[in-house]
């Protein structure tokens, strides 16, 4: 990559940072510092705005660069991966979005705590939410560092380290100054940029093949060297039975985890009613579905136009497939068009990472202040004090994410996103569904459901080939690998549900019928919703 590419990409990215900082200053100019304002942006976003923001929270650089890269290298198996990310939204739409909007105020724990003894439930759910957020955050931070090294040809370690620190500092500024209102507008801007970039590239790919999708597929298959096998599943996830079960596990985690991601759930509180929450999810499904359909075109386009060897030569994981495709579509490495398109794609990828980390930081600071701090202090703090704590928590989480991002710099962190989804599906989803739909659910059941999913998920990863026992492990030297799969979902998700059931049937507590009636009536009608 030449200096021209770098300068232009840096320039575009600086413009994005300047715009987002201006938004942050603008929306916080007369902020009142209330909890409503900080956690939920005043609850007055329209469904369309929130739909774009949800899509912005969800479409990470891992999807934009990672999935199309996977398709460019492994063909159909990359597409297989993207399907789970979309189908997951039906779980959110049918079972979670409206009901959570009606019952809760700011966080996931609000919904469950309304029926149960508040303190243990909040501590459990606060812990699992922060765990999910930190896993997801570290994956994004390391991704940001790697991306800089790849796209800007950052030679030394210094460029990567400063990127991680810079991204961390920016997200803390957005969140602690601007709260949910600024974060939402940043998501919307990023979503529009990302979709604009993706649409442009997709159109250029289709124009190159005269709109003939069939020929695009055939050319991709031919250039890949795999022939027809490139268009069928099996190249990446097909090997031995372990890797097949690994994919089934990942697929389950993806489809069930989205509905338990704290930063997605907190988005439903930014609209006034459950009806608006539903319509924002409908918008989000349209945008996200369209986006993943376009990544399929981009992935096969990169295989057909750039060729898998060139992609693999630039980055073994395929993360540079889309930037290389942009360079080619614009007219080649030495042309103005190529330089501009490449720079645009690089800047869009940065913007994507920045917006996603801001969203996660905000929701985890809400979990710390609203759930953990408020319960651990016993005495109830005033809402203003709580917001002050949330701002400090955002700084703390930023520091943790920067440090972990720097420590994990050279590790292969691709498994972290799958793990974050697995923990969300095992620890957050069972307790949420039980408390919305099960009359006899008790406090002990709720606490067991959270820890019964969280602990197995984390322990199984520690015992998996991700951590030890293979050359690519985090600790390559030693071998304490007892669990064969990289993703724990296949085991830990059922365990979360079983633990919740077991805790409930063994508890002496008599389920409060009135509290259940309240949750059920409120969740379906919106009575008493804030």
């Amino acid at each position: 990559m030449t200096d021209d590419h770098q300068t232009l990409a840096l320039l575009l990215f600086s413009v994005f940072v300047a715009i987002t900082l201006a938004i942050t200053t603008w929306v916080s100019r007369d902020r009142q510092g209330s909890a409503e304002e900080f956690y939920a942006g005043g609850r007055l976003f329209t469904p369309m705005e929130n739909g774009f923001a949800i899509a912005g929270d969800y479409m990470s650089a891992a999807s934009f660069l990672g999935i199309s890269g996977l398709i460019a290298l492994f063909g159909y198996d990359g597409m297989l991966y993207s399907v789970g990310f979309l189908v997951a939204w039906l779980v959110v739409l049918f079972l979670v979005a409206e009901l959570v909007r009606n019952c809760g105020r700011f966080t996931l724990a609000d919904v469950v705590a309304a029926r149960m003894r508040e303190r243990p439930v909040r501590i459990a759910l606060g812990t699992s939410s922060v765990t999910v957020s930190v896993l997801y955050l570290v994956a994004q931070m390391v991704g940001a560092g790697t991306l800089v090294a790849l796209l800007l040809g950052g030679e030394g370690e210094a460029a990567r380290d400063w990127t991680v620190i810079g991204v961390g500092a920016l997200m803390v500024i957005y969140v602690s100054w601007g709260g949910m209102r600024a974060t939402t507008w940043i998501q919307i801007v990023k979503s529009v940029l990302l979709l604009g970039g993706t649409v442009t590239l997709t159109v250029l790919v289709l124009v190159r093949f005269h709109g003939d999708f069939d020929r695009l597929l055939l050319t991709a298959a031919e250039r890949s060297g795999h022939g027809e096998a490139f268009l069928a599943p099996g190249l990446k996830y097909g090997g031995d039975w372990t890797s097949r079960f690994d994919f089934i596990s990942l697929g389950l985690a993806l489809v069930l985890g989205t509905a338990g991601l704290p930063h997605i759930l907190s988005r439903f509180y930014t609209v006034p009613t459950a009806r608006a929450a539903r319509r924002s999810v409908v918008w989000a499904i349209g945008l996200i579905g369209g986006f993943y359909l376009m990544t399929i075109v981009l992935g096969f386009g990169a295989a057909a136009i750039v060729g898998p060897e060139a992609v693999r030569g630039s980055n073994a994981a395929g993360n540079t497939a889309v930037p290389l495709l942009a360079l080619d579509l614009g007219g080649g490495a030495d042309s103005t068009g190529g330089t501009v398109l490449f720079a645009v794609v690089a800047a869009v990828a940065f913007a994507t990472i920045l917006a996603v980390v801001a969203g996660i930081t905000l929701s985890s600071s809400a979990s710390v202040a609203h759930d953990l701090y408020a319960s651990l202090r016993r005495r109830r703090a005033g809402p203003r004090r709580e917001v002050a704590v949330a701002r400090v928590a955002a700084v703390g989480i930023g520091v943790i994410a920067i440090v972990l991002g720097l420590l994990a710099r050279d590790l292969n962190v691709a498994f972290l996103v799958g793990l974050a989804f697995a923990v969300a599906a095992s620890a957050n989803l069972p307790v949420l569904l039980y408390s919305l739909f099960w009359r006899d659910f008790t406090t002990r059941g709720a606490v067991w459901a959270v820890y019964g999913g969280l602990i197995p998920a984390v322990v199984l990863v520690l015992l998996s080939p991700v951590v030890s026992g293979s050359p690519e492990s985090l600790v390559p030297g030693v071998d304490f690998q007892y669990f064969p799969l990289q993703n724990p979902g296949l085991v830990s998700i059922p365990l979360g549900f079983v633990a919740g059931w077991l805790g409930t049937v063994t508890s002496a507590e008599i389920p409060d019928e009135a509290k259940h009636a309240e949750t059920e009536v409120r969740s379906l009608t919106g009575a008493g919703a804030v």
Binding site: L86, L217, E228, F247, L252, V255, R275, V282, A514, V521
Partner: protein, 140 residues
């Protein structure tokens, strides 16, 4: 498009309102009893069963379709590789089919909720809030 939308003007009402409601006098019913009463009412049971009659089969349907797709892709690549038309094979049709069914179910759910559930739910919401206000217990 949503001109007959019952939620159109229904902004959220604050929880705080209940706090300033008239003070409880001689042994008012508890707020919890109001919810029990609403839960047992025919109107609420109708809303709940309409919701469940759509959501339960839909969830079972799309989850089995997704799991079948993932399991087939990982365990039966031969079947998935069978050509359908040109370069398009069974796997491609199934994958794009997942996108299509997701969009269709989203549309069907939104339509069902708008036409069959929203109006009744909104009436129940106001009625319930009236009742809880009368108890002075508040919504929480």
């Amino acid at each position: 498009m949503y001109s007959d939308d019952p939620w159109y003007d229904a902004l959220a009402s604050g929880w705080g309102e209940a706090d300033v409601a008239d003070a409880p006098d001689a042994a008012p019913p508890r707020a919890g009893d109001v919810y029990l009463e609403v839960q047992r009412s025919a109107a609420f049971q109708e809303v709940r069963s309409r919701y469940r009659r759509f959501v339960v089969p839909a969830v079972v349907g799309f989850l089995s379709w997704y799991v079948a797709y993932v399991v087939a892709a990982t365990t039966a690549p031969g079947l998935m590789a069978r050509p359908v038309a040109g370069a398009v094979n069974v796997a491609m049709v199934a994958g794009l089919g997942q996108f299509l069914t997701t969009f269709l179910l989203t549309w069907a759910y939104a339509r069902h909720a708008r036409l069959r559930r929203d109006r009744a739910a909104l009436e129940l919401r106001w009625d319930t809030q009236e009742l809880t206000r009368a108890t002075g217990g508040g919504a929480s």
